[in-house]
């Protein structure tokens, strides 16, 4: 797992739950917490932190991951504005994952093991995203979709009819975006 994920998690936790919480999570996960964005760390470290957060906050690990994904999106938008600025909708942004965002990730992190998303765009209302990864972080994909919708002033309804955690070969996420009314 790339250090950038740990950095984002640290930032999200610190921003929303405070620096002390991050210290406690690190202590509970028995990690020293010295992560640098370009470094490579065992996936296990992330799962330990998620488990610690799950225990501390009394929430399911998938909920923690989903929350993290949603809250990480604004940080990513601050960090890599060109990836967002060319789009006006979450759907268009998400559709650049394979062709633009992941190639950009590979520029920074040679050998990054990024997941491949298989999109079905035949419906203008529902964007179907098939996700396959040995890490099974479909909750992160859900959270990031929610974060993306939020970024573009939209709401998203997510159906998850197939899931690797339930024994399916891949996860199928059906995303329906709607524009929020401006208050």
């Amino acid at each position: 797992m790339k250090g950038i994920i740990f950095n984002l998690l640290e930032e999200v936790v610190t921003e929303h739950l405070g620096a002390d919480t991050w210290d406690k999570l690190l202590a509970a996960a028995e990690l020293d917490g010295a992560f640098t964005s370009l470094g490579n760390y065992p996936d296990e470290h992330l799962f330990k932190l998620v488990a610690a957060a799950s225990a501390a906050l009394g929430k399911q690990p998938t909920e923690i991951v989903r929350w993290f994904g949603a809250k990480a999106m604004p940080l990513l938008a601050r960090k890599y504005p060109p990836l967002f600025s060319r789009h006006t909708s979450a759907r268009a942004f998400i559709l650049t994952l394979n062709n633009i965002i992941h190639p950009e990730v590979r520029k920074l992190y040679p050998g990054a093991d990024v997941p491949d998303f298989d999109f079905d765009t035949s419906s203008p209302e529902v964007l179907v995203m098939n996700y396959r990864s040995k890490r099974k972080l479909c909750a992160l994909a859900e959270g990031l979709s929610e974060g993306a919708a939020e970024h573009f002033g939209e709401a998203v309804a997510i159906l998850h009819p197939q899931c690797m955690h339930r024994g399916d070969a891949c996860c199928r996420l059906e995303l329906s975006f709607t524009r929020k009314n401006k208050a």
């Binding site: 950095n7 640098t36 964005s37 370009l38 060319r86 633009i100 520029k107 920074l108 992190y109 040679p110």
Partner: protein, 501 residues
Amino acid sequence: MTDSPTGPATDPSRLLARVDRERNARLQAEALAERGMRQLYERQQHLEVLHGIAETANAALSLDACLRMTLDQWCRYTGWPVGHFYLISEESAGRLISAGEWHLNNTEKFSAFRDITEATTFERGVGLPGRVMETGRAVWVVDVTEWPGFLRARQGVQLNVRGAFAFPVLLGDETVAVAEFFSTEPEEVNETWLNLATQVGTMLGRVFERLRAQREIERTHQLLLRASREAGMAEVANGVLHNVGNVLTSLNLVVQTAQERAAASRVSHFQRAMEMMQRESARLGEFLTHDAKGRELPGFLARLADILIAENTRLRSDLENLARHCEHIREIVVTQQGASHSLGKIEELDPAQLFEDAIRLNADSLNRHGIRLERSFAPLGRVRADRHRVLQILVNLLHNAKDALMSVERSKRGIRVTIAPHEAVNACLSVADNGVGIAPEVRDKIFQHGFTTKPDGHGFGLHSAALAARDMGGRLTLGSDGPGRGATFTLILPLARPILP
């Protein structure tokens, strides 16, 4: 710096500030490292695409393949889904037409765009490719749907393209092709790509330059081939003249001899005898029986008849020789006429018969110069050859041998003609003389066109003979031990059937 030289600061706000500083330093270091990584990656990608296209350009590919591979590599590099090439129209140097070479990552999605593009030609200055051709520079359009110059959008068909980028393939200052690429989204100008495109355009220009040079070489080659064919025909014609000249020399001699014989004919004696008999016609019986002259007349007429018959026999022989020479000239001319279509017919021929024919054609000349001829013919069976060409070669060799013997004392002049096997599959037809011989430095040049040792020679006979031998699947060789030691020319011809061991 700390508040106390002995330990860390204890003020929490200061500690927090210090942690923040450290954290910011880390973030800055990471940002720097990321920038470096990105630049390194991008540079590597540039090099890869340039290297790939350079390899494509250098490989001996067709233009079509080169263009297609360039499109594939550029689209893979940029991630853009559509790439296409225009070429200069052969009918109008100021017009661009589709080269028919595409990169499409979704054929169905862009089929309308492709159809409209292939049906559209662009004059210099018109549309995206025309603009590139006019300026000789790359053109970037952020969004073609908002660019009035995008002609293809005027047909009201959904083209599914937005961002566009086109660059020229340059040969010096001349635009020889235009590459265009399209994205499905509006695209901001990318200076790196513009710079890369200039390099790619120059590299591809070299491909066009090479192809032009190849076409020019091919054209020159065709001209050379034609010239060589014409030269070949000229050689044949020259060969005909040479051989006809040889025969004419013999023919002239026969004519001269016949003329001398006719001039020296005793036929006038018969006329005088007749005049005498007419004068004495009134008393012819008495004249023949009592006159001294009259009594000798019958015997004289009998002797004269013998002489005239002998003269007539010699003249008939001369006329036969003349007819043979004329027939040979006819054969040579027929051969030349045939050569304009095919160089003679390959037949199975008796080499001894070929030699005898050639000797007969040179017989007068050989006899006149007192040249002794010796034959040594091994029974090898037939050779595969063109009769007229072999005849021309052998006549030429015998003629040369005769010339080589002119400075040799008359009683010692000799030519030896030989037929012998060579490596079981060939026959060697040799003409050896004991004449002036050939110096080693001349030996190598003797078959070259234009080389001759004779004051009135053209350097054509042996050259054409060697070519003819090669055409028949054989060869002509020369052996000589040097000046004054004679020479042997050998015509090697394939046997119709190899000699069994």
